[in-house]
């Protein structure tokens, strides 16, 4: 078990972007593709080899053999067939909940600022004890009468033959301190035409783990999903990750919406606010100054603002010298703030890296210092 745990740790990047995990309810068992746990050796490319099969009593030259050996093959281990063809998975016995522990071990909440509320707990009074002494105003009539009846009957008298001082019962309270920490996450995403299913998948993986992570740190996590093209509106989680719209991109609209939402519902001194924006980097050039200005306002209110630029589109890879005016370059030039983090995600496997960039424990030290 320990070994598998370590293997999971070593292959977090792959596992974290596994779509099938995200659909689950936390009880889903983590499956590892065999390749995620591969022991690397010098190996011949067996796909280029001629190999010998058996049991082909009627085999003739040129006979097709189906999609390939190893598809669903049972023999893993020594023989190469079955190792690479098809996706062989094995279930680790770890659930997504177990995975949290491994995944979040090296993440931290940066800028958890203690100044706002000296103590993130609230006191409440719970009436859950009854004692023979107490304040007159807290007398428990029912229990007092019960005591009287008991005493009188034991002495062979009618039940309500007068009260004695020893019958009196008082309710008393316990002070319960409950942590009252709420986090609000505002996810914003560019849903214009340029964000394809691949980008959305990346965003979804990232959001999924961020929400899980924050849930381990806060009692209540409230989610808001803001989709934007040139205008922003709040949508359901489902729509956020699946629906796309045509149109251009004006990301200031989303920031403005988020600011309004915060001002209306979530005073920053009561809530821990997190805002994350995902886009492919495109924005109307004329909108950039306004976007930067609003971003600064968001930073004043939020514990952390993250910007994830998802560039799985091949044009960025194909043209290394093409430096588009992306939002990332804008923010890197314009905004230098300890609570502002950016991440560039070019590939599914970088989801884990982005997660670590957003919740980097070292950043916290830097912020404190």
């Amino acid at each position: 078990m320990e070994r598998i745990r370590e293997a999971i740790r070593a292959n977090l990047a792959e596992i974290v972007s596994d779509e099938s995990l995200i659909a689950g309810d936390g009880q889903k068992v983590v499956r590892l593709p065999i390749k995620a746990l591969k022991e690397y050796r010098f190996r011949l490319d067996w796909q280029r080899q001629h190999r010998v099969g058996e049991g082909g009593d009627t085999a003739r030259e040129g006979d097709p053999m189906g999609t390939g050996p190893g598809a669903g093959a049972t023999g893993a281990g020594d023989g190469p067939p079955g190792e690479e063809v098809g996706e062989e998975w094995f279930e680790t016995g770890f659930t997504v909940d177990d995975l949290d522990e491994i995944l979040f071990a090296d993440l931290a909440l940066p800028h958890l600022e203690p100044k706002r509320q000296p103590d993130l707990t609230t006191e409440s009074h719970e009436w859950r004890d009854v004692r023979p002494q107490g304040l007159q105003s807290n007398i428990d009539k029912k229990r007092t009468l019960m005591e009287a009846i008991k005493r009188n009957r034991l002495a062979g008298r009618p039940p309500l033959a007068g009260l004695s001082r020893s019958d009196l019962r008082f309710r008393t309270w316990d002070v319960a301190r409950t942590p009252q920490a709420s986090a609000v996450l505002i996810f914003m995403m560019d849903t214009s035409g340029s964000m394809g299913p691949g980008e959305k998948h990346v965003a979804r993986s990232l959001c999924f783990w961020m929400v899980r992570f924050l849930r381990t740190r806060y009692e209540n996590v409230r989610l808001h999903f803001v989709a934007h093209t040139t205008e922003a509106r709040e949508v359901s989680e489902e729509a956020f990750f699946t629906k796309g719209e045509a149109g251009g991109t004006r990301c200031s609209s989303a920031y403005e919406y988020a600011l309004q939402l915060i001002d209306r519902q979530y005073p920053p001194d009561l809530y821990n606010l997190y805002a994350f924006h995902f886009s492919d980097g495109d924005n109307l050039l004329s909108d950039n100054p306004r976007a930067a200005a609003l971003m600064r306002q968001l930073l004043e209110r939020c514990s952390l603002v993250g910007y994830g630029q998802i560039e799985t589109q091949p044009q960025y890879l194909a043209m290394p010298y093409y430096q588009p005016n992306t939002l990332l370059t804008l923010f890197q030039q314009e905004i230098d703030h300890p609570r502002f983090v950016t991440a560039q995600i070019r590939d599914r496997a970088e989801v884990h890296a982005a997660l670590r960039a957003f919740f980097d424990p070292k950043r916290r030290e830097k912020g404190a210092g």
Binding site: M1, E2, R3, I4, E6, A7, L37, K38, E39, Y40, R41, F42, R43, L44, D45, W46, Q47, R48, Q49, H50, R51, V52, G53, E54, G55, G56, D57, A59, R60, E61, G62, D63, P64, M65, G66, T67, G68, P69, G70, A73, T74, G75, A76, G77, D78, G79, P80, P81, G82, F90, E91, T92, G93
Partner: protein, 417 residues
Amino acid sequence: MAVVRRQPVGDRDLERLARAIEEIVGHARAMGLDFFEMRYEICPPDVLYTFGAYGMPTRFSHWSFGKAYHLLKSQADLGLARIYELVINSDPCHAFLLESNSLLENMLVAAHVLAHSDFFKNNWRFRQTNRQMIHAMSAFASRVRQYEQQVGRERVERFLDAGLAVAEQIDPFPSTRPDPRRDLPLFLLERAPGLDDWQRDILASLREEALYFRPQMETKILNEGWASLWHVRIMRQLDLTPAETLEFARVHAAVLAPHPFQLNPYRLGYHLLESIEAQHGRDALFEARSVETDLSLVRNHLTPELCEELGLYVYARQAGQWQVQSTGWEAVRDALARQLENCGLPYIYAEDDNYHRQGELYLRHGYDGVELDLTHLQHTLQHVHHIWGRPVHLETVRDGRPTCYTCNGDNVESRAL
């Protein structure tokens, strides 16, 4: 001979099995098998899978064994494959039987492992193996634990990963025709700069383990064929009830069933050996057990008749599809020989330990028509780099062109030569 249980098995069953084993041992001796003294143990499935995954009850811990364990277990849980036994090449010979086996299955397995024990004792490839390896491995395992405490688990595990990646690149005949270039772990051990003592110990021990396991890899078909042949003959001597006879026939047929894409070593070996005895007599059968390996067995004894009887054919990938290439017996024999050559591993030669005159390591793949798996290559070079500590180069052929792969640490670059 002794029968020990690791887990409560019914007293009566154990007694019956012990009596049956005594009888089986008697028959095996009478038939001419010559085996080590036997130590049978009956274990619950988890224990047996663990031993099976580690290859030895006393081996050091590594995540890859945990992975192997899960594979074995999940296959067994799904009813896909099942291991019935584990037998150790040691003197006395340790054999582990599965507690959940039926009495008849365990009788069959007891007969089967007797023949394995005979094979370990008499096949020439096992002459040099350490019959006390079980103790050597146990001692190494405790040293690994010690190193974990001294330098930290992560460092030890990282080095074990790297060591395991190269350990199989041993020269299988270190004493008869020593060639330092042919033994990558030894080459690294002797020439890698700046290895700590614990690292040298790990590398040397992994090499010893690889040398110990190598003959078993080279004789899988022969050894399993030999054991299957004898379990049938011994079981036929026993006085079985009709129900047991039927069960035996069923289990035996399952053991020898063909696997469409992968050869079933039990089946091929069994038929090869039967055919040798039919053609050349009993002495030739025992001689084949002593002097052959899988490769030589196929080269020397695969006949056109056998090819046809077993339905052997050559297949390859053509235009994205797997196709039968040939059913001709010579094509089958040659393809099979190639597949078994060097246990199916590529030849990697350590050519130069001072390449560029900067202490860089230069490896060469002995290309013979089949290219290397690129993903494996890139990751394995990183493992070699971890041990060597300086740039590592590997010359091979890629898409028909000589190519050199260079690992400077994190990334691997390639250039055409």
